[in-house]
């Protein structure tokens, strides 16, 4: 009895930890990783939304595989949906209808799967916006940007292959368009199409082939890419927004265990919950309304899901150009919008970090994010690209818009053709203006303080507005503006009078650098800041009673505890 009282008190679970540590040496690994610090910002959770929706897609997808029959064998529908009773259809469509009407929870699972896929794609898009506009793709994260773009592209295929599987009229029409795109490839198009469909479209093989790709190949690639993506985030550590005590060499935030475990875990269930609630109350892809696919039928208002909508839009707004030569037809009307434009967009997306690094000549690491206004040209280019994308999107829904808003579809197409050329540059100019204006405002705030809105009347009748100094956080944000200078124009000859053999190339590079980094508002020098501080302090002294109150307000800023990172960067 007395001996047990003297025995050391062991923490619950310590036995397991010791067991694991003695066998796989888990303690060091766990301590290092559980204490890892993550910075806090809502926009850092957009990628998490993508990850969580992907998990929901996987879980719901496994359920659907239990009931879906990927076969194009013709069957006669004998299920409970009367308007299709006795109709000939493929077994794939038949089983998709069974999932919708007979399998317990089947329709909910189908809608969860599809909604989660839409969440996944949407989260990828907005996550990409965040990474682009904050410059998170800069060294050392260029590789991860490339992985991310690849993830986005493979996800497009994942979505489209899923959309095409139920073999209803809508998905079949989508496949028909995909076949048309393949056919437009010069020389090999026809043969590639035969290879894909096992003969003439639609054939009898394609659904089962696509099924394997959709449930095995694509998820496998996605899982591998996601693993690489996350491991790189882990290894390189998360970027952070500028703020007090945040530097390029630390991470200020909360440790993974317990705070981030709780936050991320809770967020997973929130995302999961939102998807399930929306899937429960908002109908998505009512395949029974479309009927089975037969190549001789088509429905008005046939659209792909939103993430393919821009490609469909490009096809719809493209003029009908074809070149006929030597008995062959080159279908520029399909080739350009469906293959050339997406090819250019993808290439530019992948190349952007490298273009920026090359044009800046900057080889340093960046762990502090840019505020979008502090990189005006990059932000403007991003908005320009989004404008282009959104216009194509509108093109994809042109018929619905025409009916909904009593417009002529021809008018919409022409308006879009012109807008696609005119609006992106305008968006670029406006965005850059706004960014520069915001920078000027920041500079002004830094040098003259924040306008308090309090007007002071002096004994001599003069009116003064009181400016209060910025609080520490605002100040840190503005001061973090990187001082990026464009590369100088190279001289024709070097100091010894030898002609530069790479003059043309260097000049081009300098020009691009000037374009990307030239237009910027100079950050105030430290001399200017100290002078401004002195001036503000003087003002404070002058109007002591009023400003004292102001100051006490400022002290109440930001109550969050800033924990110095345990994982200091070197």
């Amino acid at each position: 009895m007395s001996t047990s009282q003297l025995a050391p008190v062991e923490a619950k679970g310590a036995g397991v930890a010791t067991y694991l540590d003695e066998r796989v040496g888990a303690n060091g690994f766990l301590r290092r990783n559980l204490n890892k610090v993550f910075p806090d910002h809502w926009s850092f959770m957009l990628g998490e939304v993508a990850l969580y929706s992907f998990i929901v897609v996987l879980i719901s997808g496994v359920y659907l595989t239990l009931f879906f029959k990927p076969s194009m064998v013709e069957v006669i529908y004998e299920g409970p949906y009367i308007p299709l009773k006795g109709v000939k259809m493929s077994q794939a469509y038949d089983s998709a209808l069974d999932i919708s009407f007979e399998v317990r929870g089947g329709l909910l699972m189908r809608q969860i799967h599809h909604w989660a896929a839409l969440f996944f794609m949407t989260a990828i898009a907005v996550h990409m916006f965040r990474v682009f506009f904050t410059g998170a793709f800069r060294k050392p994260r260029e590789m991860n940007w490339v992985v991310g773009v690849s993830l986005a592209m493979v996800s497009l295929m994942a979505g489209f292959s899923g959309y095409s599987l139920p073999d209803d009229l809508l998905s079949g029409t989508g496949l028909r368009i995909a076949e048309g795109i393949v056919l437009s490839i010069p020389i090999v198009g026809t043969w590639v199409s035969f290879l894909m469909f096992g003969g003439e479209f639609p054939g009898t093989d394609f659904i089962s082939r696509l099924y394997g790709i959709h449930i095995l190949l694509i998820p496998g690639i996605l899982l591998a890419l996601i693993t690489v993506h996350l491991m790189m985030v882990w290894v390189q550590k998360h970027t952070q927004f500028p703020g007090p005590a945040r530097t390029n060499n630390n991470v200020v935030g909360y440790p993974l265990m317990p705070i981030y475990m709780a936050k991320a875990g809770g967020f997973f269930f929130l995302v999961f919950g939102i998807i399930v609630v929306i899937a429960g109350i908002v109908q998505l892809n009512p395949i029974w309304l479309f009927g089975p696919y037969t190549p001789d039928q088509v429905s008005a208002g046939t659209q792909p899901d939103w993430y393919i909508g821009w490609l469909d839009g490009a096809l719809r707004v493209m003029p009908n150009w074809e070149i006929q030569a030597l008995g062959y037809t080159l279908s520029l009307n399909i080739l350009i919008p469906a293959l050339v434009v997406p090819g250019i967009i993808t290439t530019l997306l992948i190349a952007y970090p490298f273009i920026e690094a090359w044009a800046s000549g900057d080889k340093s690491e960046h762990h502090l994010l840019d505020r979008p206004r502090d990189a005006p040209t990059r932000t403007a280019l991003g908005v320009m690209a989004i404008t282009f994308y959104v216009l194509l999107w509108i093109g994809g829904g042109n018929d619905i818009i025409a009916v909904g808003f009593d417009l002529s579809i021809n008018f919409i197409i022409w308006a879009l053709r012109i807008s696609l050329i005119v609006l992106p540059p305008i968006a670029f100019l406006i965005t850059r203006r706004i960014c520069l204006a915001l920078q000027r405002r920041d500079r002004d705030k830094l040098l003259h303080g924040r306008e308090t809105g309090q007007i002071l009347r002096m004994p001599n009748g003069e009116f003064l507005e009181i400016h209060a100094p910025l609080n520490e956080e605002e100040r840190a944000k503005i001061m973090a503006k990187p001082d990026v200078k464009p590369l100088p124009m190279p001289p024709e000859t070097d100091s010894t009078g030898v002609k530069n053999p790479r003059l043309k190339k260097d000049r081009r590079r300098a020009k691009i650098s000037q374009f990307l980094f030239g237009d910027n508002i100079a950050a105030p020098t430290s001399a200017e800041i100290s002078e401004a501080d002195a001036h503000l302090a003087h003002e404070v002294q002058q109007d002591a009673p009023v400003v004292a109150e102001e100051e006490s307000l400022q002290i109440a800023h930001d109550g969050a505890v800033l924990e110095e990172s345990s994982s200091t960067r070197d």
């Binding site: 809502w42 926009s43 957009l46 006795g86 939102i274 039928q297 088509v298 939103w306």
Partner: protein, 262 residues
């Protein structure tokens, strides 16, 4: 006679006599009335055509010509039949408020009786598709699934698979069928209004028309098992909901979770 005489003073005799009298008078009246009705039907027909002609001259002749022969502003109505007139006028498409890509549906200008009069007038000009009878419109025995097949093969390329309507070139459109009555659908198939092709009885027999109507009526009546259907417009409204509704909800949650604890 003796029997009758012997019962003459029976207490019920008066009632029997009155009853017989009533039956005889009623019967005679009924026979006479049918005769007069038959006579007046012709009269009504003639007056209806006259009324119809008057209405036509007032409301339609400026575009269709005083003898319905057509002008450069409107086609001839000789031979279009009563079905076309009934469809166009009872759905408010005619008279046209202003020229455009297509006559839009609006509240009808004329009463049912006026529409009938104008239909009768136009039908009197030359034979054409007649307003479908109640028998034509009886789709109760029609095969809904067959109607669905016919609908997808013949209608959905313009009216959309769920009958929600779709865009045609240059501002023309195929209207939403969820607002159309069985009679309007039948008449539209018979006469091919606006940009719609004619599905005459030789290419699409009445049973097929009834099957299509049955399918459209099923679509109208059917619930959406998946929840809020977003107008049954397909991926466009679904994508819009994703970006506007669902994404904002998720971002709001992210901001909530990401908010600093104060």
């Amino acid at each position: 006679m003796k029997t009758l005489a012997s019962h003459r003073r029976h207490p019920a005799a008066v009632f029997v006599a009155i009853l017989v009298g009533l039956f005889v008078t009623g019967g005679l009246y009924a026979v006479a009335n049918t005769a007069t009705q038959a006579q007046s039907a012709e009269q009504v027909d003639a007056t209806q055509i006259l009324t119809g002609k008057k209405l036509f001259l007032e409301g339609c002749s400026s575009c269709h010509g005083t003898a319905a022969q057509g002008t450069e502003n409107g086609p001839t109505l000789i031979g279009v039949g009563s079905a076309a007139v009934h469809f166009q006028v009872s759905t408010g498409r005619m008279p046209l408020a202003n020229p455009g890509a297509q006559a839009p549906q609006k509240p009808p200008e004329y009463s049912e009786a006026d529409v009938a009069a104008m239909s009768a007038y136009v039908a009197s000009l030359a034979p054409g598709p007649a307003i479908p009878t109640a028998e034509d419109l009886d789709y109760s025995d029609a095969d809904v699934a067959e109607g669905g097949e016919l609908f997808r093969a013949n209608c959905s390329q313009c009216h959309q698979a769920a009958g929600r309507g779709g865009a045609l070139s240059n501002g023309k459109y195929a209207p939403n069928l969820m607002e159309a009555t069985p009679q309007e659908i039948y008449e539209a198939m018979l006469t091919g209004p606006q940009n719609m092709p004619v599905f005459g009885d030789s290419t699409m027999p009445p049973e097929d028309k009834q099957a299509i109507i049955a399918y459209v009526e099923t679509l109208k009546a059917s619930d959406d098992p998946g929840g809020w259907a977003l107008g049954r417009f397909g991926p466009v409204t679904e994508g819009l909901f994703m970006w506007i509704g669902a994404l904002l909800l998720v971002v709001a949650c992210a901001i909530w979770i990401g908010a600093k604890v104060r």
